[in-house]
């Protein structure tokens, strides 16, 4: 599934060449403007990679009304600009498409980054109908995704200049994490997260909306959501987990997931801290997270290790997941819920 389209500017998004147009730069290409808006409405984000001065990106953002999540303007190869954008956004190369009218640029990117879907502007018009560009559900969070990446860029710029500890920076940003029981209205977003998350996903398989709705009604499960906001903007529902609470002795987390957009903002650590604390309050002796170990979910393993969970190498879940677990009554001390996070207090 494509999550981000990186656009060339000259003769692609603009009906002409920015620097060759004298006083008045060219208007946006109407067909590409339609594609930008259509894909944006589906939660696909947009970025710019152009051989132009940075003013060209500002001009394109103004005349299209699109919040570009990243913009790389310069004269180095487009594949390098695309690599930087991929890194900035925390996405994988195979989630990116690149649109350029220049055959040589397309060839260079195809050769250097074979995972990237490379398209001509004509292809891009058709591509809106392709399955790679057609997510099954589009949530409110998805439609605001481009705007949220723009907020993220402003947050990252401040983080670079900040210089203190991570915790100090999260406080400076006015970070708010809310952990709560999921409601029926959260099901489409939880389904979307289960399909789209990879770096923070313990199960490696999506969960259908019917299954999720069934779990909400199950007495043996707790389905939790995590919402995130700070003074740069509201990210909405960014994560969740499904806990099997049927056994009194151990809480087992069937699925733990978080949007990669929330990486570095204390969310997964707060969720794991709450999980340990809530399980201990409910009288459980251990918390366990069966986790399908992949090359992509290293960030999740780092969070598990940080919360004191260790792999029980003797125990494998039926699907070959490794079971990460920790005792709740023995050292290390349980991680503390930060005071900028709120969560249900009692146990049910």
């Amino acid at each position: 599934m494509i999550k981000c389209v990186i656009w060339d500017i000259d003769n692609t998004l603009l009906a002409g060449v920015y620097l060759e147009s004298g006083q008045q730069p060219p208007p946006p290409d109407p067909a590409m403007l339609g594609v930008l808006r259509e894909l944006g409405g589906r939660g696909i984000i947009h970025a710019l990679a152009s051989r132009n001065p940075p003013e060209a990106a500002e001009y394109v953002a103004r005349v299209t009304g699109i919040s570009f999540a990243a913009a790389e303007c310069g004269w180095d190869p487009k594949s390098e600009a695309i690599g930087r954008i991929t890194g900035q956004l925390g996405l994988a190369a195979d989630a990116m498409a690149f649109v350029d009218d220049d055959l040589l640029e397309r060839a260079e990117v195809s050769f250097a980054l074979p995972e990237v879907l490379v398209l001509s502007p004509e292809d891009a018009c058709d591509a809106a109908g392709w399955p790679e560009f057609s997510p099954a559900v589009v949530t409110a969070e998805a439609r605001r995704r481009g705007e949220m990446y723009a907020q993220r860029r402003r947050r990252q710029e401040e983080a670079r200049a900040f210089g203190g500890s991570r915790d100090e920076f999260l406080r400076y940003c006015g970070t708010r994490v809310v952990i709560a029981r999921a409601a029926a209205a959260d099901v489409p977003r939880l389904h979307e997260l289960s399909e789209r998350t990879h770096q923070f996903n313990s199960a490696g398989a999506g969960l259908g909306q019917d299954r999720l709705a069934g779990l909400l009604d199950s007495a043996a499960h707790q389905v939790m959501i995590v919402a995130l906001s700070d003074r740069f903007g509201d990210d909405g529902l960014v994560g969740g987990c499904i806990i099997e609470t049927g056994s009194a002795a151990a809480w087992s987390v069937a699925l733990l997931m978080m949007s990669c957009r929330a990486i570095g903002r204390g969310v997964v650590d707060a969720l794991l801290a709450w999980l340990c604390q809530a399980a201990a309050r409910a009288g459980a002796r251990t918390v366990q997270v069966p986790c399908l170990v992949t090359a992509r979910n290293v960030p999740l393993r780092i969070a598990l290790a940080s919360a004191g969970l260790r792999a029980d190498t003797g125990a494998r879940a039926p699907d070959a997941a490794v079971i990460f677990a920790r005792q709740l009554t023995a050292p290390p001390p349980l991680p503390a819920l930060p005071d900028w996070a709120s969560a249900p207090e009692g146990h049910e």
Partner: protein, 91 residues
């Protein structure tokens, strides 16, 4: 490797930690400094960037070789993990 021109693995790790967290105070941490929790405060983002830099710089795939990431306990344990596995460098 004592007193030579080449910085120690621990010194290079201090520089990488300061880079990936944006916190120059980490240039002065001791080998016993815990990487998780208060102090260094390594989180998923900084941890992932650290492991990526370690793989490029030393050719050691920490996440691939250490399922539990126990090597991330302290600056010293990570340096030792890398020193045991890194290919000898230079002339």
């Amino acid at each position: 490797m004592t007193g030579g021109a080449r910085p120690s693995v621990a010194d290079e790790l201090r520089q990488i930690l300061a880079d990936v967290t944006g916190n120059p105070a980490l240039l002065g941490i001791s080998p016993q400094a815990a990487l998780f929790g208060a102090g260094v405060g390594l989180d998923s983002l900084a941890g992932t960037l650290l492991l990526r830099r370690v793989r490029h710089r030393f050719g050691v795939d920490v996440a691939g070789e250490d399922l539990n990431l126990d090597s991330l306990a302290t600056l010293g344990t990570l340096a030792a993990f890398i020193e045991e596995r890194a290919a000898p460098q230079g002339p």
